[in-house]
Assembly symmetry: none
């Protein structure tokens, strides 16, 4: 039985870039370690979720760690909230939220409160409260964005948005979409009444009005979802799992599955992360854990920025760091892939497949000898993200036979 | 319309073997006929069940002959019983069983009765009985292993194990896991009471006690399953099917589907089988049947034995035999593949894909010219075992259009 190291290079996949001589960032990078692993390993193209699907990091990671997002991904709310660093537990209800401006007749004047840039932390803090035994927690995001998490018992995600989704319309009161949502809807409406009183009185808004800015006097809610109760990873796969990730949404997902997020000094979830330290920390974790997931966010950031040079450069740093994995091949199955493509030319996630490589002593290899989107096209495997866990389990001799 | 010949080389897939210069057994074998067929055919990599799944021969054959094991494979019991050569009919309930030792307080002393090696045929025979119109049939397997089949009407697999799964614990009485299992559970408990009386009195156990060996005085039951009622192959695919297989489990599965097992002289299901005779018999059967399945067990046996030389050698004998198929290409679709990989280095089934080739005059070919795990990596197709029947049907011009 071997241990498992899964390295997810966030947003790895790319498309041709003029500035890189029509190569992808991965093709253009000096990557001797990735190429060595590719040449000694079993390569493939991996479709996040399914061919053509533009996967998010949340859905793709869920499926990479062995949970079917079709069954457990019940709405963006809980995952957005985790992405803001909020603690979200199984059964919690979460909404995506906007700070918005409304008039006294409850009509929305601006769904983004003039794209408010400051004071939202104070606004969010002021809205934390408890009603009927249920905790309401609000946290600010970028500009007008925020999330609301409800923590309590017997909550249901089957409620409508309060967001009318269009300026000029009135704020909706929240209602149940199924009978089990009635108690939750009623609690949310009470919260909204309370929150309006607080937002009308708060200094931030008095200041904004004085400065001629639209007040952030309404928290618009949309996309209710319940944080799924995932079967514990340790029960499901009989492995102790840990993760080394710099972004709260992914560590939140891992936590829901019972995969322990570890803190490693210097890991930031940004392009200035300590790449070597991150991989070193993950290798250290393999002493205690059977399965370690690493997420390196930097390629995705460079992709969203539309910066092929930066994307190439961070991949070169990653390559330098993953060299440390090579001596592990005797008793570890190493898998390197992406969670989706973030082509620099698109500045967003595409539905293109990403290269994947499995590397461990004694496994069957293919003839692919370079790790990039184009070389992977001649590789052996065509997988979906949901196949990766079973493939890792079989290579590490951890799965049961299906049948006799 | 063409006929179909499906050759399943059991446990065909392999991983690199030191002793074969890091080749797989298939790569190392002199295989001019398989390579000829590959060069004239359409090649692919086939994942038994799904990528990474460590398929059993039972689940894989079910899916190769066109039945979804997710729907029809309800537990190992019936398939293990077939594997022992027992007749199992749709609706029968079967358990995997152990001959075990218990004390007078019903506590299990040894779940394997000292890995009993002789006398189990006599023990099993003594336990055949009829209770309440239901026939109980027991058959011994290797060492302490056995199977129990219940044949009657209205039986349910929704019952617990009597096996406490741990020495030192007491034998459980069987209970229903769903209301429809109550009558069945009650019958099994009666059978167990009767069987204890018989096993306490039988000579085999008196002899064992006298020799200081633990008596085999309890039949522990686990893994109840119902033999599925499969839609007849002839209705489902409008073909008359036959099979030439040497192992009872696969002929049992074929029988459930209405694919007729044929006996061919010299076919043993072992490495000493008459390879040429087997293929000759299958070709003969094509005169009467539309679809003939051949299973050659030998590569799997060599894989489980961890013997790459033997695996290579039996593949060379298979190659010699399949040469007889080449003249059939005009009016037959020939498919050669494995049901799973049994790497010699692992001595068990892995979740690696296996090569597959379809060969018939006039079909589209790919550029693959050798039949092995590595050459297949550059081939055209990536299939799952559940795709194979539809692919055969279309090539033989036997399937309906899906749409207009």
């Amino acid at each position: 039985m071997k241990k498992i190291m899964l390295i997810v290079l966030d947003g790895l996949g790319d498309r041709p870039n003029d500035v890189l001589g029509n190569m992808t960032a991965l093709q253009a990078a000096f990557r001797p370690n990735l190429n060595f692993i590719s040449s000694k390993g079993m390569n493939g193209l991996m479709h996040p979720i399914s061919p053509g699907i533009r996967a998010g990091s949340d859905t793709s990671h869920l499926s990479l760690i062995g949970y079917d997002p079709e069954k457990v991904y019940t709405g963006r709310g809980p995952f957005e909230a985790m992405g803001l660093g909020m603690e979200v537990k199984a059964g919690d209800i979460a909404f995506r939220a906007n700070f918005a401006s409304r008039d006294d007749s409850m009509r929305i004047l601006d769904r983004r409160a003039g794209r408010i840039t400051s004071g939202t932390a104070e606004l969010a803090r002021a809205l934390n409260m408890e009603i009927g035994g249920v905790k309401f927690m609000v946290k600010e995001g970028v500009e007008h964005r925020a999330a609301l998490v409800m923590h309590g018992t017997g909550l249901s995600p089957n409620v409508t948005d309060s967001d009318p989704h269009e300026a000029g319309k009135k704020v909706s009161s929240v209602s149940a979409t199924k009978p089990d949502g009635e108690a939750t809807a009623s609690l949310i409406n009470k919260f909204l009444v309370e929150s309006r009183k607080i937002l009308d009185e708060i200094d931030v808004n008095h200041d904004r009005i004085r400065e001629g800015l639209p007040p952030a006097n309404e928290l618009l809610l949309r996309g209710a979802g319940i944080a799924p109760k995932l079967e514990p990873f340790s029960d499901r796969y009989n492995m102790k799992g840990a993760c080394v990730v710099g972004i709260p949404m992914i560590s939140g997902i891992c936590s829901l599955a019972g995969i322990t997020p570890l803190s490693v000094a210097g890991v930031t979830g940004r392009v200035d992360t300590d790449y070597r330290g991150k991989i070193k920390g993950a290798i250290e974790a393999l002493k205690t854990y059977d399965y370690v997931l690493v997420n390196v966010k930097a390629p995705d950031i460079a992709g969203h920025d539309g910066d092929p040079i930066l994307k190439r450069d961070v991949i070169e740093k990653i390559d330098d760091a993953v060299g440390q994995l090579i001596p592990l091949a005797e008793d570890t199955v190493i898998c390197i892939t992406g969670d989706h493509s973030t082509p620099c030319s698109m500045k967003d996630h595409s539905g293109d497949p990403v290269p994947i490589v499995f590397y461990s002593d004694g496994i069957i290899r293919d003839r692919t000898a370079q790790f990039d989107e184009i070389s992977a096209q001649q590789s052996a495997l065509r997988l979906k993200s949901g196949d990766v866990m079973q493939y890792l389990l079989q290579l590490s001799e951890r799965s049961e036979k299906y049948g006799a």
